[in-house]
Symmetry: C2
Subunit: 415 residues, 2 copies
């Protein structure tokens, strides 16, 4: 083993940094409430900027608020290697979903600095704006604008539920940056993230070498019936969208289990009734539908099957079912060279690893449009994420950062 191969990050320092970040927007249950471009997000951004400055990194902020902390390489002709993830959270989110990838990126740079190691290509650590998509839709807004998948003007005009635009929110927290969004080219991009699923833990595997991301579709499904008074209207005269919702939900889960198990996923995260009055049969109910599959054709087939099954439930009831397509993310296959570099890094460090497909979308989905990309996963307890009880161990965080370090070194120094 060479001296460089023996290099390791400082796991306890990384853990302290994670803990420090988790205090910003901390919830009593041990999680984090740090919505994109909120006051909590501003404090997280300030902390990222302060830590980067301590490491002598130059920080730039682009017009959609993406932050980049740069360490120069020895060969000015080479394109950069990007490390990074996001600092925003779900409303009742965990402390590792996002920050692990950002702070491990800084830890890699700090480790190199302490060891006096320079790389041929420059390295940058990114903090992408609004990955979660909870406050502003769509998710992965900053990386999507950066990659050109979303028009910048549309991204800036996206509004939160109270009507505040991304542009106004950026101004409010002082992160409407000056540098252009995107238009840069990359040697490679790597993102370390917790798995957010149980595969690695169940396989007792330390590292996931992520070869791609499953595809996802987001819909709003509205069932329209007839608004009427709860008391006097006989049951048989009602056109009740809640009754139709119950039958539709049962059918959708049945079809998923019968035809698309085990890879297919179906999630309804949002439910609403209008006018939302206790003693009124709602005129309509709306649910969000998130479907995912690693295979693009199967994903399309899932969408078609669910649509036709819901129509079959609703038509005889006189209920109108309207599907609005909110967002679509086809399955992604990462770059073979980057995937190989991650696997090699896991071998150098002596960690058990396996190749896998990500169930969740990540900023890397967009980055993969413009850069050779791969991801590194570490297990999380019981596969639980998007939850205040999301948990990993210091050893798991350290393992992920070590793989990030060695994959980044290999990619930045490759001839």
């Amino acid at each position: 083993m060479t001296a460089t191969e023996a290099l390791r990050v400082d796991g306890s320092r990384l853990w302290r940094r994670l803990d420090e970040m988790a205090r910003l927007g901390a919830t009593p249950a041990g999680g984090v409430h740090r919505l994109a471009l909120s006051a909590e997000d501003r404090r997280a951004r300030d902390l990222f900027g302060a830590r980067a400055a301590e490491l002598g990194l130059s920080v730039t902020v682009d017009r959609i608020g993406n932050m980049f902390a740069r360490r120069e390489g020895t060969d000015p002709a080479l394109r950069l290697v990007l490390l990074g993830s996001h600092l925003d959270s779900q409303p009742t989110g965990g402390r590792f979903d996002g920050p692990l990838g950002v702070l491990a990126g800084l830890e890699v740079l700090e480790t190199l600095r302490e060891a006096g190691i320079e790389t041929r290509a420059p390295l940058e650590v990114a903090n992408w704006t609004n990955e979660e998509g909870t406050r502003f839709a769509p998710a992965m807004l900053g990386s999507g604008a950066f990659s050109g998948r979303f028009a910048l003007a549309d991204a800036l005009a996206s509004t939160d539920p109270s009507g505040v635009t991304v542009e106004a929110a950026l101004d409010e927290i002082g992160y409407a940056g000056q540098t252009p969004v995107g238009g840069r080219s990359f040697r490679a991009a790597l993102e370390l993230h917790i798995e957010q699923g149980p595969t690695l833990e169940e396989a007792e595997c330390e590292v996931g070498v992520v070869t791609g991301v499953q595809g996802a579709h987001w819909y709003d499904l509205t069932l329209r019936g007839e608004e009427t008074h709860a008391g006097p209207t006989p049951m048989e005269r009602r056109v009740d969208p809640v009754e139709a919702l119950g039958a539709s939900l049962v059918r959708m889960y049945e079809v998923l289990a019968a035809e698309f198990a085990p890879e297919g996923r179906l999630t309804h995260g949002v439910l609403e009734a209008r006018p939302a009055s206790r003693n009124t049969v709602p005129g309509e109910v709306r649910i969000s539908v998130d479907i995912r599959h690693p295979d693009g054709e199967r994903l399309e087939s899932m969408a078609a099957r669910l649509t036709s099954e819901v129509a079959e439930i609703c038509e005889p009831r006189g209920i109108e079912a309207v599907w609005a397509h909110i967002w679509r993310s086809p399955p992604v296959r990462f770059d073979d060279g980057c995937v190989s570099a991650v696997a090699a890094a896991a071998r150098v460090c002596g960690y058990s690893y396996r190749e896998m497909v990500s169930g969740a979308g990540h900023d890397s989905v967009h980055v993969a449009d413009i850069a050779p990309t791969a991801m590194i996963f570490v297990p999380c307890e019981d596969g639980v994420s998007h939850n205040e009880s999301e948990r990993i161990t210091p050893e798991q965080a350290e393992a992920g950062a070590n793989v990030l370090l060695h994959a980044a070194l290999a990619l930045a120094n490759a001839r």
Copy 2:
């Protein structure tokens, strides 16, 4: 027929008054948005007060905002006869639910004044605060505080979804009155209202003589599962409260149809998921449950059956089902004398009528605790109510007001 028996209200004047009131909070779809103690409700109250003043009536407002417009009788020893209903509306409500009873009350007094007819007992027209229960819970707040069913302090402390109390809202619109709430005694009380159901229309009957009100229970049902990420978590590892909700809804509607048809009613007006993020399996879902039955024992039995059926669905899924009892209104039987007076009035006017039980709760449910009470129903188109398309004809409004007039005369003049 005596001259008094030949007396009729001015139907076109009543219709104009209804139209005038419907402009306050009018919605583009022809309905009304006039939540209790809102700016729109203030304008409706001001209009009520102005019309009463034109008729020479004295208006008092009590501490919960209930308004009373009084016409003296000839015998100061007699207790009063109360007519009235409410001027607040559902969020997307109709123009007749409430205002018909209030404005018909004023029309009765105006008709008597024009005809130079005095009554032995005094007459008052009431406008009760927050009948709908949409902005502040529970429904029928003002009449319930008046009857003593709710403690005044509790009623004043009830908050709307943004945390504003009834007390603050009354101050804000200038209707925190000075007179004590309740403590008065009545000869009789009558409420004219649209049926809000299809019975009268289907029976081609002009007037409903309401003998009582079905009982109702309100619950919040919370299903608790496990909040987790939408993408990576395999379906079979989820503890998904939305899946359990679908199965529970189907079972609840099945049990209702199989065991409690045709009288039993089941309505879910409010649905919510938490944390309400598209790409998170909700940790919990909450639905409102409104059940009604004219028979008190059957109502209790419905509550027990639904609870046990939902438990049977949820337990094997690892979902916790929690029922919070929000409100309970036992079935009400109105006063025989008042019911007879309403039927006699319908006969005097030559209208077809039938006795019936109200499906909806009304202020009269509370008033019946402290006064001999009955209600008068008129049909509404297709039985549709709590809906902007709620509709009645001028003739139907006039018929209801004529029955109110003659029932009030009989009760106020009885020896």
